[in-house]
């Protein structure tokens, strides 16, 4: 593997992002982990992606038989089934609890473990589960999101001098860094936390964002709300919302404030960049022809086009986690009315309004973060109108630890119940509080 040598212009640009007088107190150093060889692979993926076509209704993608055969040959988890079934639909589906339990048996035998990295996130659907992944996967995601952005005529700028992407959050704790994307020829990638404690002065946030002028800003609806308060005069080419549901009223306001298209993207920790839409649209268009999406009923029966069931995934861009019929826990119908198949009547990533005793909003991401270090298989948190909390959880944890973690975050009375087992989504939130939900 050969390291990519930065040009002097790239180095100077990166240094400028790091040493900008209004820059945040970055707490991490990151690179996109591409080498010369991996960059060539990303370029090849981009070329193939441009010419790839989606499967037609009632058909499978052309790549599917080879993908299935390879998975049965190399992945211990699938080998247990005892040979490839004659029909794809006879491969049993599995969900997140199985993935969590048998994680190491999903990594193919032939892949070098030295190259493997771990990806974890605090998305509302994520958990402490580290996903084995390949260093190039993040760059491949840029290819996928750029195809989505193209719908609004937006593409990432290339080369030093441009900040291609800012990933913004408004959280108690999150990574912050400035890096360059080799795939985008040295354009900048910022990971920022808009929460005041991450900055030297409050004014620095707007100043830094205006001066680095990120082309595309990605974040949660809550982070965008804060962004609109902090720097409403920013003019990015597009906003990309993810992690939780984006409500249309909120999206319209964001679109008007920032005078740009607003995208709503659906993905999972295990597999990012599944589908996306412009906020005005109802259906989520599938983004990747290399990801086969089915809608299944409770007994694994494939549901016909237009019927709502569970979204089930096969394929993906992560060689360390080949998925064959992975149940997402999210629901939608699949329709074939456009060039790309679409998810209709999507139900997932439900946003909720959670409040501190003082009435201040607490994003659900912060709850996931607050409980992250406890070994929980799952939890379900409900907040009442009087802001009191009820949490039921599964895991070998003392109830007092759970109560303490939530008490620090919410400062409200909390009723804690332990559950012997856990199925389905690892994190569930409910709230009786009214107001914008995040």
């Amino acid at each position: 593997m050969s390291e990519i040598v930065l040009t002097s212009a790239q180095r100077a640009f990166h240094q400028g992002l790091l040493e900008h007088p209004s820059a945040p107190r970055y707490n991490f150093t990151s690179t996109d982990m591409l080498t010369v060889e991996r960059l060539a692979e990303v370029r090849a993926y981009e070329r193939d992606f441009a010419s790839a076509v989606f499967w037609k209704e009632g058909r499978h993608p052309d790549w599917l038989p080879d993908f299935v055969a390879q998975a049965f040959r190399t992945v211990p988890f699938y080998r247990v089934l005892g040979g490839v079934p004659k029909t794809f639909e006879a491969i049993p589906s599995f969900g997140r609890e199985v993935l969590q339990k048998e994680l190491s048996s999903f990594v193919p035998d032939h892949l070098c473990l030295e190259t493997m990295t771990a990806y974890t996130t605090s998305g509302t659907q994520g958990s402490v589960l580290p996903v084995p992944t390949h260093p190039s996967v993040s760059s491949l995601l840029l290819v996928v999101t750029e195809a989505m952005l193209a719908k609004a005529g937006v593409s990432y700028p290339r080369g030093p001098g441009h900040t291609a992407i800012a990933l913004v959050g408004y959280q108690q704790k999150t990574l912050t860094y400035a890096s360059l994307s080799h795939h985008l020829e040295g354009a900048g990638f910022l990971k920022l936390n808009l929460a005041p404690h991450e900055w030297r002065s409050l004014e620095d946030r707007a100043r830094f964002l205006r001066e680095t002028s990120p082309h595309v800003i990605s974040g949660s609806p809550y982070a965008f709300e804060k962004l609109a308060e902090i720097v409403p005069d920013l003019r990015p080419a597009a906003l990309v919302s993810s992690a939780v549901a984006l409500h249309k009223g909120h999206a319209r306001k964001l679109s008007e404030t920032f005078a740009c298209p607003v995208f709503d993207m659906y993905g999972l920790t295990e597999l990012r960049g599944i589908a996306g839409r412009l906020w005005e649209e109802d259906d989520l268009e599938l983004l990747s022809p290399d990801l086969y999406v089915e809608i299944l009923g409770d007994n694994d029966e494939p549901l016909p086009s237009g019927m709502v069931g569970e979204i089930v995934l096969t394929g993906g861009r992560n060689p360390y986690l080949p998925l064959l019929r992975y149940r997402t826990g999210d629901r939608a119908a699949l329709v074939f009315e456009k060039v790309r198949p679409c998810l209709r009547s999507f139900e997932g990533r439900r946003a909720v309004r959670l409040e501190h005793a003082s009435g201040e909003v607490i994003p659900s991401l912060d709850v996931v973060n607050a409980l992250r270090d406890l070994p929980l298989a799952g939890f379900s948190l409900a907040q009442d109108k009087d802001r009191s909390l009820k949490i039921s959880f599964c895991g070998k944890v003392d109830e007092r630890e759970v109560r303490h973690a939530l008490g620090e975050l919410f400062a409200t009375p909390t009723e804690v119940t332990a559950q012997p087992s856990w199925e389905g989504k690892p994190h569930r939130f409910r709230s009786q509080l009214e107001g914008p939900a995040f």
Binding site: V80, G83, S104, P130, K173, L296, D300, N369
Partner: protein, 205 residues
């Protein structure tokens, strides 16, 4: 008294010619699949003068749940191969037929006798591997207390034990390798997480 069944060679040849219906996918809770294993077994037992499957016996020959398909599929596929094995004409020698093939013993063998083999070898591999075909043929004969034609009782027992132990050694070695690999995966994930955590306490993204 020693009761003789068909020769092992005849049976392995018979297995190699297994028709596609016995290789179909056992019907899953989703409705996917082409053959109801319990129906095949019931037909066989009725044909042998036994009773059709019912209740708990029937449940043993179909998937217990959607989640169980992964674990139970290979066993059910081997049951189909077992049912095909006993359809060999050598088991059905006129008046002797009842004596050679006891419905109870066939039922017992198909219900539980194949479980150890199902953990060792995939149904598809079994048909393609002469040693595994021989193992299935000998297991079937042994379950019915039959000695293969042309062999002595002791010789038949020894040959079956040898076949099983060779395969078991191979599978144990594979299992050890798989465990080592799984440990290596876990260690590498933990190392990567620890390295990120060392670089920053907010390492989760």
């Amino acid at each position: 008294m020693t009761v003789r069944g068909p020769s092992v060679r005849e049976l392995t040849h018979h297995l190699a010619e297994c028709p596609s219906i016995f290789l179909e996918e056992p019907v899953q809770p989703s409705g996917q699949g082409g053959v109801y294993v319990h129906a095949v077994v019931s037909d066989l037992l009725l044909d042998l003068g036994g009773e059709a499957l019912s209740g708990q016996d029937l449940a043993r020959f179909r998937y217990s749940s959607r989640e169980a398909v992964r674990e139970e599929r290979n066993r059910l596929r081997l049951v189909l191969l077992g049912a095909w094995l006993f359809s060999h004409s050598g088991f059905q020698r006129g008046d002797e037929r009842e004596r050679l093939l006891s419905a109870d013993k066939v039922h017992g063998f198909l219900a539980t006798g194949l479980n150890p083999l199902a953990r060792l070898v995939a149904a598809d591999e079994l048909l393609g591997d002469p040693d595994r075909r021989e193992e299935l043929a000998r297991l079937g004969l042994d379950a019915l207390d039959l000695v293969p034609h042309g062999e002595g009782e002791k010789e038949a027992k020894n040959r079956l034990a040898a076949l099983s132990s060779v395969e078991r050694e191979k599978v144990l070695a594979q299992a050890r390798a798989a465990e080592a690999r799984a440990r290596a995966v876990q260690e590498q994930l933990a190392r990567k997480q620890a390295a990120q955590a060392a670089a920053n306490s907010y390492y989760n993204e």
